[in-house]
């Protein structure tokens, strides 16, 4: 992890009495795939809108490539490609004509690149038809093509697989992996948690405008992993763990088992052994991002 390409500093947005985003600090490093998760209304799209200079922050600021970004300062956005919400297009133009219009903003983008991105997103065959006749999935692919057109250093995607069938989702996932492998930084907001789990390096979980968890996917999953330890006297084992510094809210007794959250099995066994308690069985219960996400967003902020 080196250069930070997207960073927010205490970023907040208030609409009257409604706090849409409340003091977000997040860094996105060059070359990583960063997942942005949260239930509907959590503030994901508002945060992305502020990062793209489309929404005025109430407080705080956003920086892209080390430069401030706001509706009044948009120069850094030239290095960004974005697909936010429903894709934007001119409905009476074809996909190719839409991309030709976008390409006029970038002197380095020519016809060959337009053909290339149309091929990448699977729209080459339908490229010359008016977009108004496209399906939702096709429009989504066009939005993705427009985001990729000028080979941006940072790609911001809000629900990129929206409207796509499973094959299309797989194609987009593979495409994102390929782009990330080539050094492009990707900031991805999605409800498809298994997609995020497979694609992202780090994630932030947003609830009611606040980040409730942030870090590497493996760390986040590890923190929520439950290890079940079978011991002769669970209450004694619980006391031993408390004395060794494990927080009370991470320990639960369940019959002849003690269940510990957020610690690897080896550490639990080690701490119990220090108190002459030797478990008969240690079971690490795997958790996935969806379970972690649901737990985090259920908890009070």
């Amino acid at each position: 992890m080196n250069e930070i390409v997207l960073q927010t500093f205490d970023l907040a947005k208030q609409y009257g009495p409604v706090r849409a985003v409340a003091g977000i600090d997040l860094p996105v490093y060059r070359g990583e795939v960063y997942g942005f998760l949260g239930p509907n209304g959590a503030g994901k799209t508002t945060t992305i809108g502020m990062a793209l200079g489309l929404i005025h922050p109430t407080t705080g600021r956003v920086e892209l490539f080390g430069q401030p970004v706001s509706p009044a300062h948009v120069t850094p956005l030239r290095r960004v490609g974005a697909l936010v919400g429903a894709p934007s297009y001119v409905p009476y133009f074809s996909a190719r004509r839409n991309l030709q219009l976008v390409a006029r903003l970038y002197p380095d983008v020519g016809a060959a690149r337009i053909d290339e991105v149309l091929e990448m997103v699977g729209l080459a065959q339908a490229a010359n038809r008016p977009v108004r006749g496209y399906s939702m999935g096709m429009k989504q692919r066009l939005g993705l093509a427009a985001a990729l057109l000028h080979k941006p250093e940072l790609i911001i995607l809000d629900e990129p697989t929206n409207g796509l069938d499973p094959a299309g989702m797989r194609e987009v996932r593979d495409l994102l992996r390929s782009l990330a492998g080539g050094g492009t930084t990707i900031f991805l907001s999605s409800h498809l948690l298994h997609e995020v789990e497979q694609t992202c390096d780090r994630v932030a979980v947003l609830k009611q405008g606040q980040i409730v968890a942030q870090g590497r996917v493996s760390e986040l999953l590890g923190q929520r992993q439950v290890v079940r330890v079978r011991v002769p006297l669970p209450t004694v084992a619980r006391e031993a763990l408390l004395q060794s510094g494990v927080p009370a809210d991470q320990i639960r007794t369940n019959g002849s088992y003690v269940e510990v959250t957020g610690l690897p099995g080896e550490q639990i066994v080690e701490r119990l052994a220090a108190h002459a308690i030797y478990p008969g069985e240690v079971i690490a219960q795997g958790t996935d991002l969806e379970e972690t996400f649901l737990e985090l967003t259920r908890e009070a902020v």
Partner: protein, 288 residues
């Protein structure tokens, strides 16, 4: 960045059906009005005009005055103003509806540049809105002239005045375009922009100009500083306008403003409306 954005907006505008539909309406209206005037001139509609009125109508459908009459169809208080309002309001407000604003602004196009480029792209169709009646009306009145007088009389046409009048007519439409632009940005609604714009151009200004003269000459003079009054001063310079009600002239009508004042006034209105639109646009949050 401005030129690239202008190029994009020009292409978007000129390759859609709307401006061409509006130009077709103008062409059709020009044909219709000129045709009806021709029929009136010939008493073909059963209208029994006096000699003086018949001569007046004849002048309007033959060269050289027929050319100037054709342009007047595109004027601000006539069909041209209405169609400019529709074009300006629709092209700006639909950017909100289609969410295409996010596409350009999210790519680093500054908001003032975008808005200025979008308005600048309207200049060509506005000019076409004057040229089309000129060409269509000019052609038809030319044919009528040959039929009535046996000759075209192109030598009688003050071509430089015609060119100037054409440009002046297009120029006088700018405040209406800018005002509708402003309303579109403020309301983000095509219906509101076009509705308010049309109401202003066709009703409000006309009413104010009419009613002002009832109260005092000072008010009548003040009303000349509205866009419609400025357009009148620009397009009818050196002629005393007689404000009338129900076709009966009111004596002591306000003398027109000088062309220089009219030009400056139109520029001020256009710039002020655009500046207000930019100020509002800069403050807007462009959410989903």
């Amino acid at each position: 960045m401005f030129m690239r954005t202008f190029s994009i907006e020009q292409t978007k505008l000129m390759r859609r059906a709307l401006p061409w539909i509006l130009l077709s309406v103008l062409a059709g209206a020009t044909l219709l009005i000129t045709g009806i005037n021709y029929l009136v001139m010939n008493n073909s509609l059963g209208s029994n005009l006096g000699t003086e009125m018949t001569a007046e109508v004849r002048r309007q459908v033959t060269w050289p005055d027929g050319l100037f009459s054709a342009i007047s169809i595109a004027g601000g208080s006539a069909l041209g103003g209405l169609l400019v309002v529709i074009l300006s309001g629709t092209t700006m407000a639909q950017e909100y509806t289609w969410r295409t604003l996010q596409q350009w602004l999210g790519r680093g196009v500054p908001r003032p540049v975008f808005l200025a480029a979008k308005f600048a792209a309207l200049l060509l169709p506005i000019l076409l809105m004057v040229l089309v009646p000129l060409l269509v009306g000019g052609l038809l009145t030319g044919l009528i002239t040959i039929g009535v007088e046996g000759r075209l009389g192109a030598g009688d046409v003050a071509w430089s005045s015609l060119a100037l009048r054409t440009l002046a007519t297009a120029y006088s439409l700018l405040p209406y375009a800018a005002l509708t632009f402003l309303i579109a940005v403020a309301t983000r609604s095509t219906v509101a922009a076009v509705g308010i714009g049309v109401a202003y151009a066709l009703l409000v200004e006309g009413l104010v100009l009419q009613l002002a003269s009832f109260f005092s000459e000072s008010l009548a003079r003040l009303s000349l500083y509205l866009p419609a009054g400025l357009a009148q001063s620009l397009l009818q310079s050196e002629r005393l306008v007689q404000v009338s009600v129900d076709g009966r002239p009111i004596t002591g009508g306000a003398e027109l403003l000088s062309p220089a004042v009219a030009v400056a006034g139109i520029a001020v209105y256009t710039v002020l409306f655009l500046a207000a639109a930019i100020a509002i646009f800069r403050r807007q949050d462009l959410n989903e």
